[in-house]
């Protein structure tokens, strides 16, 4: 590991203190470690709060239960969106960025004081947003479409949070520069860091468009601006809202590669291909807010078609490539590890008992099959009209951001706790099941909301039976069934979420200490000495039959589902 040796030579600088990680061989600097800790802890706390709100929302949408009164439902739904999509995800992403720069490159963190200041701003913003929402005068959903107006505190809190996050992203970039100047690594940055750089670049664009739209909106709430154009607001708002989802994708794909590397010893099949796939996210995603505007008046069809696809869906292609190269790298690694029988021994004998691996692989599969396919269908100009603003939309993005991103982040936490907090995982028996309980619950809410949306049920809606409405309308019984199953899946996801939080908080506070000599990990990292062969295949002979079958199934599902929706569209009333 030339990385570490070089770092030891060059990385000593007054005022920094270091330790070597006994399990991974990584060199870890103390301020980087502290900032990863606080950001990860804040993330988990906001997940706990937001997840609880998610459960209450889902139980309210279960017609037989209808837990909350209407006013509370809309308030809690606003809080749910903000706490999970913004605060949980972004705090965790900042931890990931610091990990992918300082820890993986064996560097010190640039400007730790500024990083602390950024953290402070983010905490202030997040707490203030919850205050604004709970006061009850900011029930506008986290998208806050005008002319519905929230209190000034709501907009201000999001601005403060975004500025904090932006500063943290700059600390990440500065750390990359420090690592390069102090030559803590040799050659090009590792793939995981490259993926994190992608996430960081997109984050800058995103947070900038967030500021562009939220600052005038805030001035409007103060009465300094009289009018906000509703359509332009959506176009710019989704410039932030959509691109920020691409940060999540870049971050969780990096995590897939990282967990594959750390747990089974996966190497990218080809550095060039995997990096190119990340690069596509940057090139082709910036204006993809278009697919949120497909059912809006006032934009031309050609604008919609071009901006929803950039002619050839190259960002989708980026994800499809990772969808091959991530399982492919794992298959190749497992074959090196000696699991060579049949097409799938590498998968059946994979370390499913390790929650980091299980969470990662479930995240990969569900992100592709549920979130990915439904996302492309929703983002098709004409097909969007079939499900715009129905509960299909939350179904789709719980497939991406819950079954995909959140599950991947949870999986990563099972490595962060031992490596950064130096505490072993408590209750391994429980931890083993956690990704499955949460994953199946999250997959369930995604699929059942998609099902109900296909039957027309609206999103952000307190009463699908429309009891108090001026004109009655009765949704089909199947739609009620779907919302009931959604409620049951939500309970399962919530149980998985509670398990996660209990395990993580318990381990951090009371897990067996790993900084003692002789301490061992309950869930071991990849042990290179156990590899059966040091190289698997060559460029000419690499065989990945299992991955090819999985990718083939995926592609068949994709095509089938795509055309089923066109068929469904063709049976609607005619409109143009």
């Amino acid at each position: 590991m030339t990385t570490i040796d070089q770092g030891a030579l060059n990385g000593t600088r007054a005022g920094t203190s270091w330790r070597a990680c006994r399990f991974s061989g990584l060199r870890i600097e103390s301020s980087a470690e502290a900032l990863i800790k606080v950001n990860a802890v804040a993330a988990v706390l906001f997940l706990a709060l937001g997840g609880l709100m998610g459960l209450m929302v889902a139980l309210t949408r279960w017609p037989a239960v209808q837990l909350l009164p209407a006013e509370w439902f809309y308030l809690v739904l606003t809080g749910h969106g903000a706490n999970v999509l913004l605060f949980w995800i972004i705090f965790f992403e900042i931890a990931v960025l610091y990990f992918a720069s300082a820890v993986i490159l064996g560097s010190r963190l640039a400007a730790p004081k500024i990083a602390w200041f950024a953290f402070l701003l983010m905490v202030v913003g997040a707490v203030m947003a919850n205050y604004a929402v709970l006061r009850g005068d900011s029930t506008v959903m986290f998208t806050s479409y005008p002319p519905m107006m929230a209190s000034q505190w709501f907009y201000l809190s999001l601005i403060i949070f975004a500025v904090g996050a932006l500063i943290a992203v700059f600390v990440f970039f500065a750390t990359l520069v420090v690592a390069k100047n102090e030559r803590t690594y040799d050659g090009s940055v590792p793939l995981v860091t490259f993926g994190a750089i992608t996430a960081g670049i997109i984050a800058v664009f995103t947070l900038a468009s967030g500021a562009i739209i939220l600052i005038p909106t805030w001035l409007w709430s103060l009465g300094l601006i009289t009018n906000i154009d509703t359509l332009m607001y959506k176009v710019v708002w989704w410039g932030m809202g959509h691109s920020s989802q691409q940060i999540n994708v870049s971050a969780h794909v990096s995590i897939w590669y990282a967990i594959g590397a750390m747990v089974v010893g996966a190497k990218p099949l080809s550095e060039k291909v995997s990096r190119m796939a990340f690069f596509m996210y940057i090139l082709f995603l910036q204006l993809a807010s278009a697919h949120h505007i497909l059912a809006e008046p006032g934009m031309s069809s050609s604008w919609k078609i071009v901006n929803t696809s950039y002619m050839m869906y190259l960002a989708v292609m980026g994800s499809m490539i990772h969808g091959l190269t991530v399982p492919g790298a794992i298959e190749a690694a497992q074959r090196r590890n000696g699991f060579t029988r049949g097409a799938f021994e590498w998968l059946t004998k994979a370390p499913w008992g390790n929650p980091a691996f299980a969470g990662m692989f479930l995240s990969l599969v569900m992100f592709g099959f549920i979130g990915g396919i439904s996302g492309v269908v929703l983002g098709t100009e004409q097909l969007n009209v079939l499900m715009h603003n129905t509960i299909y939309v939350p179904g789709h993005f719980h497939g991406t951001v819950v079954a995909g991103t959140t599950l991947a982040f949870m999986a990563m936490t099972y490595l962060v706790v031992p490596l950064i907090f130096q505490r072993d995982i408590l209750w391994p028996g429980l931890a083993k099941w956690q990704p499955f309980v949460f994953g199946i619950g999250a997959g369930g809410i995604s699929l059942f909301m998609m099902g109900a949306g296909t039957l027309g049920v609206a999103r952000r809606h307190w009463d699908m039976s429309l009891t108090d409405a001026a004109h009655a309308y009765e949704f089909p019984a199947a739609a009620y069934l779907m919302m009931g199953l959604n409620g049951i899946s939500a309970i399962m996801a919530a149980v998985g979420g509670v398990m996660f939080i209990v395990i993580v908080v318990g381990s951090i506070l009371a897990g067996p200490r790993l900084d003692q000599p002789g301490a061992k990990l309950t869930f071991p990292l990849h042990d290179k000495s156990r590899e059966a062969v040091s190289e698997y295949g060559s460029h000419a002979t690499l065989k990945l039959p299992g991955t090819l079958i999985l990718v083939g199934i995926f592609f068949a599902c994709f095509i089938l589902y795509y055309f089923v929706n066109w068929k469904y569209l063709s049976e609607l009333w005619l409109f143009n």
């Binding site: 590792p190 550095e271 008046p297 069809s301 098709t380 079939l386 952000r460 004109h471 009655a472 409109f575």
Partner: protein, 184 residues
């Protein structure tokens, strides 16, 4: 490993593996196909959202809808104006303009259209954003204040259809509905 610098310093010179190359080509062609299919549907399909939109002041739009409803108010055989749930039923001329006003919290008025005939449906809001969700047909369109959106709609089945608001529009959002009647 993915957490270490590439073992081959000249990684960008490595050849791309056959499996990866094949998948890249397939994904690329599929992406191109999906792009062209959206364009193609404008020619071969009969469900394309119109983009005919005009800026309009919400008050002006509301007046237009009132005038429209008064002019084409449906009357029963005995001459009394037709209503449902206290809302007038309006019969726009076949092929002509028909207006729907989205406002807190209803879609107003009720339209009665003929199956198989086309109408120019105008959609706009008097106040906040709303969501026009025609059920069980499942046609979903956003409605903005200040923008008058015109779609040419041809119903292909008869019966009574619900309009459910699916853009959050405040505390009465879940009470916001409307209706379209289609007669043979």
């Amino acid at each position: 490993m993915a957490i270490h610098p590439p073992s081959n310093r000249l990684w960008w010179k490595e050849p791309i593996h056959g499996i990866e190359l094949a998948w890249i080509v397939i994904a690329f062609l599929w992406g191109l196909f999906m792009f062209f299919f959206m364009i193609a549907w404008h020619f071969i399909g009969q469900q394309n959202l119109s983009n005919e939109t005009y800026k309009i002041k919400p008050e002006v739009y509301a007046e237009r809808v009132e005038a429209f409803a008064a002019e084409f108010q449906a009357v029963a055989d005995d001459g009394t104006p037709l209503e449902e749930d206290g809302v007038p039923v309006v019969r726009p001329p076949v092929g002509g303009d028909a207006y729907i006003l989205a406002r807190l919290w209803e879609f107003w008025p009720i339209l009665e259209l003929k199956k198989g005939e086309s109408y120019r449906i105008h959609l706009s809001s008097a106040d906040w954003q709303h969501g026009f969700s025609l059920q069980p047909t499942n046609i979903n369109i956003s409605v903005h204040p200040g923008y008058e959106h015109i779609i040419t709609l041809t119903p292909t089945e008869s019966g009574s259809f619900g309009i459910v608001c699916n853009e959050f529009c405040g505390i009465g959002h879940h009470t916001m509905t409307g209706r379209i009647r289609i007669v043979d």
